[in-house]
């Protein structure tokens, strides 16, 4: 049978498939070449003569939201197209809340929770039972949350729900499964310096947040080794009392499902609010850092600084600014570095925003070793150009079109609408956030862009990190004139003192 595309991943994807465009993605300098003849041709562009009828009316189906007396929130999203039911319970608290000496705990918890199983049914038996029905129950940990999620055919939905609830409320952490998870985590640790892109992404974030920040500190062999079954139990007890968000989607009867969820969750004690966080974000020390990797012929260049969070009222303007800087084929970075100079396959980036903490400002360029300095200068030039080369109405119009005309892809499936509702609930945003955000995008002006660029783009505060093959990088990084090149040590610490490169 032919495999659907999304089943191909990892090594299978290695040579099977390539795209014209990396995940990241232009400058409009070409227009200066317009001749008078072309200007008249411009007035009669063939594609502009194609009628664009009014879009069909569309009101996305919102999930039903129910807040239980104990504070737990339920979302029900019906979708009867296919005979499946899926669900999840989102639990506040993630890796940023774990003890520094046990960094990696949440990752291990997310793995061992499911593989251990419950007192009634251990993880292996659960695997056998579920897989025979093509059903799944999985657990996982993230930076700010953990979750148990499940899916099955409609006919098995009741049984799978019961099993998922048993796992949520009565897990039995098994030392052997913890050990298995520790082995897997150790494998990832010893391999973390194999891939250039992985090194660059990780180390650049550390330059901004600091190596010991709850957002960037990394699991080490010693810290994962320090995690015990009791730690997993304690974590579970501690987080289960938080504000759970339960979401269900698919082919179910809404009345019966609501009753079932009430029965399962109404009996839990009132939720405890998550303690406020007091993270300090100071941004990077400006300058240039280098990590040598002698088995590559390409440099991964990261230009980073501190971004912002979504509560910032300037976010709609910043989103438009990002689109102009590095958001698409027409962005300044893509046009300059890839199209005009041919120096990169992958180039793009912008000032990012997270829901509850400042994300990164990050521009990324991947280029052959010899053009490292040229490509970095070109990217830095475009960043500086945010304040130096004024925004034009044309750029604004294009960026708005790009964002607004594709805006409905944020809610074109019921699954996406549900996921957005859960996200907004989790971070405490109003349910109409997308509408407010869209209205904000529509109002952005050129003056707003100029003001935002002056407020948020500070080339002198950015750090540049290059991961690449030192001897091949000619001219050398000192040509960038960003001060002395700091070498970053990425040696993997070995428990007991020995070090492994």
């Amino acid at each position: 049978m032919k495999k659907s595309r999304d089943q191909r991943s990892g090594i299978r994807g290695q040579l099977g498939v390539r795209g014209a465009r990396a995940a990241i993605i232009v400058v409009a300098m070409g227009f200066v070449f317009l001749t008078p003849a072309a200007m008249s041709a411009q007035q009669a562009k063939p594609w502009e003569q194609i009628p664009i009828p009014k879009l069909h009316d569309f009101r996305p189906q919102q999930p039903k939201r129910i807040e239980l007396k104990n504070g737990i929130v339920l979302f029900l999203q019906e979708d009867h197209e296919l005979p499946f039911v899926s669900g999840s319970v989102l639990i506040p608290g993630g890796s940023r809340d774990e003890d520094k000496a046990k960094t990696g705990l949440v990752e291990l918890y997310g793995e061992a929770w499911r593989t251990s199983g419950t007192a009634k049914l251990d993880g292996d038996a659960l695997d056998d039972l579920l897989e025979a029905k093509a059903a799944h129950i999985e657990t996982g940990g993230d930076v700010d949350s953990t979750a148990v999620s499940w899916d099955s055919l409609k006919g098995d939905a009741d049984q799978v729900f019961s099993l998922a609830m048993d796992l949520l409320l009565h897990p039995k952490f098994n030392p052997e499964k913890l050990e298995l998870a520790q082995q897997q985590a150790a494998t990832a640790i010893v391999r973390r310096n194999d891939d250039e892109g992985e090194i660059a992404g990780r180390e650049a974030a550390k330059l901004v947040y600091g190596a010991n920040s709850p957002y960037t500190r990394q699991p080490e062999l010693a810290t994962i080794g320090a995690v015990t079954v009791d730690d997993l139990k304690a974590w579970h007890e501690r987080t289960l009392g938080g504000k759970l968000i339960v979401s269900i989607s698919g082919d179910f009867d809404p009345v019966a499902m609501e009753a079932k969820l009430r029965t399962a969750f109404e009996g839990l004690p009132p939720v405890k609010a998550a303690p406020a966080r007091h993270d300090v974000f100071s941004g990077p020390k400006p300058g240039i850092s280098f990590i040598n990797k002698d088995d590559v012929n390409q440099s991964n260049v990261q230009i980073v600084g501190l971004g912002t969070d979504r509560r910032n009222p300037d976010v709609p303007t910043l989103a438009v600014m990002n689109e102009i800087l590095g958001g698409g084929f027409a962005s300044r970075l893509f046009q300059k570095v890839r199209t005009e100079l041919g120096l990169a396959y992958a180039v793009g980036g912008g000032l990012n925003f997270a829901y509850d903490h400042p994300a990164l400002f990050r521009v990324n360029v991947i280029t052959k070793s010899a053009s490292t300095v040229d490509a970095t200068k070109a990217a830095l030039g475009e960043i500086a150009g945010m304040t130096g080369s004024p925004f034009t109405q044309k750029e604004l119009d294009r960026a708005k079109d790009n964002i607004l005309n594709s805006f409905l892809f944020r809610y074109d499936t019921r699954e996406k609408v549900l996921a957005e509702s859960v996200r907004l609930e989790f971070y405490g945003y109003p349910a109409n956030y997308l509408e407010t955000y869209k209205a904000g995008l529509e109002k952005v002006t050129v003056a707003d862009l100029d003001a935002a660029a002056r407020k948020y783009i500070h080339p002198e505060k950015l750090a540049v990190l290059v991961v690449g093959n030192g001897p091949e990088i000619k001219p050398g990084l000192d040509e960038l004139k960003l001060g002395p090149v700091q070498t970053v040590d990425i040696t993997i610490p070995q428990p007991g003192g020995a070090e492994k490169k």
């Binding site: 659907s4 498939v17 194609i50 025979a132």
Partner: protein, 514 residues
Amino acid sequence: MQNRCLSRFWKSCLALTLIAAWTGAQAQDLKSFEQRITTKVLPNGLTLIVCERQDAPVFSYSTFIDAGDVNDPSGESGLAHMFEHLAFKGTTQIGTTDYAAEKVALAKVEAANDAYEAEYLKAVGRDPKKLEELKKAFKEAEAEAHKFVVPNQFTDVAERNGASGLNAETGLDNTMYFWSMPENRLELWAWMESGRLSDVVPREFYKERDVVVEERRMRTDSNPIGRLVEQFLATAYVAHNYGRSSIGWPSEVGQITATEAMEFHKKYYVGANIVVAVVGDVKASEAMPMLERYFSRVPAGPKPEEMTTIEPKQFAEKTVVIREQTQPFYLEGYHRPDYRDPDDAVYDAIGDIMSNGRVSRLYRSLVRDRQIAAEAQGFSPFPGDKYPGLFAFYAVPLPGHTPAEMRDAIHQEIDKLKSADVTDEELAMFKTRTRAGLLHGLADNQGLANNLAEYQTRYGDWRELFTQLEKVDKVTKADIRRVANRVFVASNRTSAEIDTEAPAAAAKKDGGAE
């Protein structure tokens, strides 16, 4: 147009019965997929498929070209992919300020490149000074042509009109172009897509070639697994193009010319070689005449002839060892037949039982019980399915464990498959999971468009997406044992591994100096 659907209706009824027996009340919904799909073959041979799904005012499309890098002419590896990049550069109508003048300038670029290459490739008597002059002349011709370019206008128009997930993929077997858009842009899309299929211009070709070479550095040269896989396939195949670097050997992809890319387009981008599938908020009765008008612009041309090369039977076991300072890895592969083989579903069964999830044999043996690997899987076909590919196995060793241990443990599991039947539960699980997987795949407009176009190309009928379940149902325990015994033999095997070299040894190799 719809007659084509009806004549094959019995076949889909059979498929729908099978699914109905299993999911009960849901059959109506599945049947509705059949009722919502309209197919039409245009006079130029191009096949259009429209699947109506009015959930949201959007559509996704997939253009599937039955040509990929396996079709690259000798000495031009990477050409199909290079052309794919060209397909984003616009047409005679989009991306240019004055096509008539641009055409003349592009001809000069090509002549300048030919002159440079002729000098560059001289085996004897290459004149460095002349080469430098020719390079300069080429750059000047390129700059002259660039004056007529509106950079990235094709993609710009798409993005300004709400294109989402705009991309393309070139595989060994085929090339796919795809995006999603608001439904009121269907005609605009049809104009754009039919334009780039029929009216492409070799604009900014040589700069884009640099971009592709950069892509090669990222995916292959600077990635340990990328390097290993390239060597693995080059070793496993002696005759067939599956053994050739698909992104292209550096010397070849670095010297592809615009003329070569346009010849590739002329030969392979013909109606009979193209299927276009649209899924979403589209009414076939209204859209089809409009789509027909635009896509009739694609040149007719005969279906390109199939290649004659068949990989000869392997008779010697082969091994590749890469020694470097990256973590160990093990990969092996066995030649298997193409996707049309009667046993195709049997290979899927083996892949599922060996690899799918925590119940799989390789996970339970290598990861859970013996605790020597972080991950272990077997899958097929690789690197393609149109021609005989490989059944591949790989394992990622835990710290302290070696590729040799991975190999031995994988072979033990293969031997079990050869000497004893799989269990009833394993076989039933494969069949159940395959059906559920098919259904899950129907949920997404883009995924469905890709599948409809691919199945229409490979089987001449998109309904095979459903009817393949019949073949899955027929797989027996004896089939699995028979196929395992025939295919998984040492003389049919190629293996590749990364052995980690200590830093000190590496330094010594380089002469010890920093």
